[in-house]
């Protein structure tokens, strides 16, 4: 197997059992030989115990005992499969319970969102919800799979109507790349293999599309942002004076000799070396983990950000953001929360809630401003010290943050900076 240049692609699937989501995942895993015999025997046994005809592939995606007993998915589950071209990570999110919270979580790291539409039903409320979250989280690619084509006699006309329906509302969203594929997950049409039944469709089947999507530009390579995670001072022979700043490049490209500014202090220097255990690099790009040394002895620590002097993020204590509330306890304006933004930790409060968004209709609600679990709102945040931010649209790492409740230590909200 050739592995050297194979990339990693993360995709998320959202939907309920009725859409055939589990069947689709089961199909991808099964046809790419990621399901083992003992796992298949396990679920065959459980299917039989439950009195099902045949093997229910959905059982494979349910990990917890409660999920198997109740036939529901509770939490995001991660699945893996590999083809000769790529390694894939699926964030499989439940369609019903706490769908927003889970979908937002699964979407946060995805390159691709797969949205399933039941061809018999067309675009429904859930479809709009999924598309909205995919666009809110700025998933770079959206693939709309019109499923159960076998049940509408592989009709090109109905398929085209569904595309029109979808584009009517998706034009209101900010989505860069939307594709459509007619499939039948149950029979495997256009999933891994090209469908003989859908002979009017000439583009690639789903797996082939996932294998060939251009994802190298999904990460911002323009704005160099290096959040410092920790300082390495070995104090051992050969490295007595070594002082390295360890982190993972969030975006952009850095090279030794680059003029850099350390934020928020504003001290400037040049990059002396970019080190890993294997070698010193002549060039580093996101998302590499590495250690940077500087030519000047300046004060740098965790929470600081090293950036190119000529291209700096905004340092501010106040900003507008979309906020998704994730906790059972409602948000309380003017309460202090801990904010985690890259490696920076500060205190923050929600200064004001401007409006909430109904993710089924995309309407703004300006009357009811109570933020409860699964709500999405536009808010103003104020922090005790400056954060170095970019717009989420330009940078998924320096544009995102979470809020933590200091009384429970739970993660209560996720934010996408505007």
């Amino acid at each position: 197997m050739q592995i050297d240049n194979n990339q990693l692609l993360r995709f998320t699937t959202a939907g309920s059992v009725d859409d055939g989501k589990s069947t689709l995942i089961g199909r991808l895993l099964y046809d790419s030989k990621a399901i083992f015999e003992d796992q298949l025997e396990d679920i065959a046994l459980t299917s039989k115990r439950k009195g099902y005809d045949g093997v229910d592939l959905a059982l494979f995606t349910d990990g917890l005992r409660d999920e198997r007993e109740q036939g529901i998915t509770i939490d995001v589950a991660y699945r893996y499969f590999t083809t000769p071209k790529r390694k894939f990570i699926i964030a499989d999110t439940p369609g019903h319970i706490q769908y927003t919270r889970n979908m937002v979580t699964g979407a946060s790291t995805a390159n691709v969102a797969i949205i399933l539409i039941d061809a018999r039903k067309g675009v429904i409320e859930q479809t709009k919800r999924h598309a909205f979250i995919a666009s809110l989280l700025q998933i770079p690619h959206i693939i709309v799979c019109v499923n159960k084509m076998d049940l509408i006699d592989y009709s090109e006309e109905i398929y085209n109507q569904i595309i029109v329906q979808f584009e009517e509302f998706s034009s209101k969203l900010y989505a860069k790349d939307i594709r459509f594929i007619p499939i039948s997950a149950l029979d495997g049409d256009n999933v891994v293999n090209r469908s003989k039944n859908i002979d009017w469709y000439h583009s690639a089947p789903l797996l082939n599309t996932l294998e060939n999507l251009h994802i190298s530009s999904d990460i911002n390579k323009i704005d160099a942002r290096f959040p410092v995670q920790t300082v390495l001072r070995p104090q051992r022979e050969g490295f007595i004076d070594y002082r390295g700043y360890a982190g993972r490049l969030a975006s952009g490209i850095l090279r030794p000799g680059d003029h850099v500014t350390v934020m928020p202090s504003g001290f400037t220097s040049t990059i002396k070396s970019i080190d890993t255990m294997d070698e010193s690099l002549t060039e580093a790009f996101a998302p590499m983990s590495m250690t940077i040394t500087l030519n000047d002895d300046i004060d740098v620590g965790r929470g600081d950000m090293i950036v190119k002097t000529a291209n700096q993020p905004r340092a501010t204590q106040e900003f507008d953001t979309m906020l998704c509330w994730l906790n059972n306890e409602n948000a309380t304006p003017r309460t202090k929360y801990t904010i985690l933004h890259t490696s920076n930790e500060q205190k923050a409060m929600i200064k004001s809630i401007m409006y909430k968004i109904d993710i089924n209709t995309y309407n703004r609600e300006e009357e009811n401003k109570e933020l409860s679990m699964n709500d999405i709102a536009r808010v103003k945040i104020r922090t005790t010290r400056p954060l170095m931010i970019d717009e989420y649209r330009d940078n998924r790492t320096t544009g995102s943050f979470i809020l933590i409740d200091d009384l429970t230590h739970e993660t209560v909200a996720a934010g996408m900076i505007l």
Partner: protein
């Protein structure tokens, strides 16, 4: 034009290094759980990379059931020397002697579940606030729901239905005194990824993973190695087979598979063709549909 992208192994490596550095930055007293198996050897290697040119800045913790493969212990001691890290050993035998736990009975008795108490006691005694493990989400169905930073309450228990959401790469390690975290830097690796990386990086692994001649007994659908802990039943007989192990657990419960794969290349080719999961030969997982979930809830690795 130059291609600015990482291949998948480099991306997994970078992610794991990021997580290990977050552990070090967010916790006071983390340890690396070391079993001597390939996954914990991999995590040790990644920790070396994460902190180079510094030494790995935390201790290793081995929960010793007393039912080890001798090869594993030799390998462990050698590696600790080489990495210059301190090793904490939590002894299951000591937990038994102190009356904290009692041995299971019967032919399939193991010390597997007893490790939970020893592990949690050691975590408490040493005031450990984060234990880094080599768990992977592809290993077992309940592990598919595991976070990178996984919260444990003050009884060391996991509540899978009430986990903190984990978004982007922002890790929340906040906890109260007495609680701790488990961190899983190789969550996103599969068995194949681990083998491909071990080969690429030329990382030494215990000889047990490679095919070798061994005295074994056919039990629970796999070849169980003969050891001083193994009690034969009347219908069982000792045979000599060329076998290797896909995972390493206690010598009493880890079954081998017949194999000629004595190099990493051959092992990778074999793993690619295998039709059973690697834990398929672990009788600890076969006890029930939710055997792993139940142990994990109580505080297992």
């Amino acid at each position: 034009m130059k291609k600015y992208y990482l291949n998948y192994l480099d991306e997994l490596e970078s992610e794991a290094i990021f997580i290990l550095r977050e552990v070090w930055a967010q916790f006071q007293n983390p340890v690396l759980l070391f079993s001597g198996g390939k996954d914990s050897i991999l995590v040790a290697h990644l920790a070396q990379k994460a902190f180079y040119p510094s030494k790995i800045p935390f201790s290793f913790l081995h929960v010793d059931t007393g039912h080890n493969f001798p090869e594993t212990i030799d390998f462990r001691d050698q590696l600790m020397n080489q990495l210059e890290v301190e090793l904490i050993v939590g002894s299951v035998q000591k937990s038994i002697d102190q009356g904290r736990v009692s041995e299971e009975r019967g032919k399939n008795a193991t010390r597997n579940a007893l490790q939970i108490t020893t592990l949690l006691d050691t975590i408490e005694d040493h005031k450990i606030d984060c234990a880094i493990g080599g768990g992977r989400r592809d290993e077992e169905k309940s592990r598919a729901k595991e976070r990178f930073f996984s919260h444990r309450d003050d009884f060391g228990q996991w509540d899978p239905k009430n986990q903190r959401p984990e978004l982007w790469n922002i890790l929340n390690g906040k906890h109260f005194e007495g609680e701790h975290f488990r961190a899983f830097p190789i969550s996103n690796w599969t068995e194949m990824d681990v083998w491909n990386y071990l080969k690429r990086e030329n990382i030494a692994i215990p000889s047990l993973y490679k095919a070798h001649q061994r005295d074994v007994v056919w039990r629970n659908e796999s070849w169980i190695p003969v050891s001083k802990h193994l009690v034969l039943t009347e219908d069982e007989s000792i045979q000599t087979k060329k076998i290797r192990f896909r995972t390493l657990g206690d010598i009493t419960i880890t079954g081998g598979i017949e194999s000629d794969a004595d190099t990493l290349e051959k092992i990778i080719a074999e793993v690619a063709a295998l039709k059973q999961t690697e834990r398929g030969n672990r009788s600890d997982d076969k006890r029930s549909d939710s055997a792993m979930e139940d142990r994990k809830r109580q505080g297992y690795f």
